[in-house]
Amino acid sequence: MTALNIAYGSPRRLSRLTGTLSAGGRIGLLVLIVLLLLSAAAPLVCHHSSRETSGPPLAPPNAAHWMGTDDLGVDIWAQVCFGARISLLVGIGTALLAGLGGALAGILAGYCGGWVDRILMRLIDILLVLPDLPVMIVLAAFFGPSVWTVIGVLSAFSWVFTARIVRARVLSLKQRRFIQAAETYGAGPLYLMRRHFLPEIFPLVAVGMIRLAGRAIVAEAGLSFLGLGDPTSRSWGFILHHALSFPGIYYTAFWKWWLLFPWLALTLVVLSLALIGKDFENIADPRMRSH
């Protein structure tokens, strides 16, 4: 229920939430907030352009370029800051789209039952057994590489996780006494949804969305890393791809800044999201704590 309170988030409630987070969850939240601020204030915190040459090529970290420069002399700190925008956009976009879509599908399947449920469940079964990355590679190539198609493809594949959990919860809720009591008192579907289903479902969806965001960021990085992402958006995965395409990368020390910093950024985000997700799972469903 605590997770629910963020939705109506007053500062006091937010502080109560951070109180319930574990140390790992707090560090994760801190890292994410710092990254969000950095990406939002990217033009302010970066003195150099993220696209244009601003120094000597392949300079190691120094006072002017404190993360060094790449083979074209482009500042890496600026690339990492602006790259954060892409990664976070993909993560948040996919989480919202797939989380809300999945919740809607789950509610529909669980509440309506019948043929709606059967069709949705078949669809979910099919999507679940398909290995996602090969399909994503093919689809991303097919839709043409752009950030929005990456978000679309990722959402099309990941809504199933939320949908399944939500459907199961709705089904079990429908059997509960208080719902049946409300129905006998003449509560309509909309009232039931607003007062009884949504408050119960929201924590589940919130947990699911954090997981989805992590998966999406990793998937986008993977696609870009393969060179199949959006070439105009310099995401972290694209920086890795660009660095690895440099012929001498393995035989020189350039990787110590060119690869290391985008790598660190990606790893930090993924781990932070995982830590927060774990905590939210415990809050939303204390039974999972035993694992």
Partner: protein, 332 residues
């Protein structure tokens, strides 16, 4: 029971049909046209095919016929095991796939075996010493490890162990132009090249199996029948093998089959990190050059393999332990 099993099988066949049809449809609506440019190599003048040549090639590959006819021809060829002719590699797709498949299989099987072994071992130790120092350190470490994406870990290993300390070769599956004195030298070379990709995939998967093994072992260890077994004075090894492991392994075995889909995704990326000549690297190359038949072939092979593994997992569930049939759908 039998009816349910037939229904499951029909569902899987339906999924196969969808994949086969998707496979037919997708490359035909992909942007780009393999017959447009003769050469777009870097630094070279871009050379275009003439109209007549384009028409000739379209006819040659049957791309000028109506879609329904193309579809029928595609299904017929597929049934005969013919995946078409690669436009870019100038060779039959099936032949190329058979050439590359062993490398991917080597990586995947070695990684599955290693991670299952390590995960079960560590998980059992953690469960046995639950709450002690070992468990307290291992558990969060394994959670962190299980969350790191395979290709990021691969990059780390590549640049520290291979590029930095030069303990392992940087890329490929064998040394180029090497002449081997014996079969052992050859195998050693292959093992040295496969070591890092296998290690990457194995480490990433160990985390998940560890977590499952730990909770599964802990659940079994708390059971009354183990106390009974001890009270009867059975040999500890006998208790461990016959009473504990046998029960705790059930969910792990099925998980290994079920997570094959994720492993395939990881393998594709990791192969590209290490320039390992398996299916994943082939797939990337094929997508970059718009080699339609090649993409179709790999996509089909990979998805059908994963589907088969999932189907087997479904069947094994019921076989191994009737109790978990209910949870089977939720476990994933």
């Amino acid at each position: 029971m039998t009816r349910q099993r037939t229904r499951r099988l029909l569902e899987y066949l339906f999924t196969v049909w969808i994949i086969v049809t998707l496979n037919f449809a997708l490359p035909r609506v992909m942007p780009g046209d393999p017959f447009l440019y003769l050469s777009t190599d870097q630094g070279q003048e871009i050379a275009r095919f003439s109209e007549a040549q384009q028409d000739y090639y379209r006819r040659q590959y049957g791309l000028d016929r109506p879609l329904a006819q193309q579809y029928a021809a595609y299904l017929a060829a597929l049934a005969a095991g013919d995946l078409g002719y690669s436009i870019y590699y100038n060779q039959g797709v099936t032949a190329i796939l058979l050439q590359r498949l062993p490398w991917t299989l080597l990586l995947v099987t070695a990684a599955v075996a290693l991670s299952a072994l390590a995960g079960c071992l560590l998980g059992s130790m953690s469960a046995a010493f639950r709450g002690r120092a070992l468990d307290r350190w291992l558990y969060p470490a394994m959670i962190a490890v299980s969350e790191i994406p395979a290709f990021l870990l691969g990059l780390l290993l590549l640049f520290t162990l291979a590029a930095g300390w030069q303990l392992f070769p940087l890329s490929g599956a064998m040394t180029h132009f090497a002449v081997y004195a014996s079969l052992w030298d050859r195998l050693a070379d292959i093992a040295r090249h496969a070591a890092l990709p296998v290690l990457t995939l194995a480490i990433v998967r160990t985390g998940g199996i560890y977590l499952l093994a730990r909770s599964s072992m802990a659940a079994v260890l708390a059971r009354d029948y183990l106390r009974t077994a001890r009270a009867k004075g059975l040999h500890p090894l006998h208790i461990l093998v016959r009473h504990t492991l046998r029960n705790a392994m059930l969910p792990i075995v099925t998980r290994i089959f079920l997570s094959l889909g994720g492993l395939v995704g990881g393998a594709i990326l990791v192969e590209n990190v290490f320039a390992y000549p398996g299916l994943g690297r082939l797939m990337r190359e094929a997508v970059l050059v718009h080699d339609y038949p090649m993409i179709q072939g790999i996509f089909l092979l990979v998805t059908l393999t994963v589907l088969t593994a999932n189907y087997l997992a479904d069947r094994i569930y019921g076989r191994l332990d009737p109790r978990i049939r209910e949870n089977a759908a939720e476990a994933r």
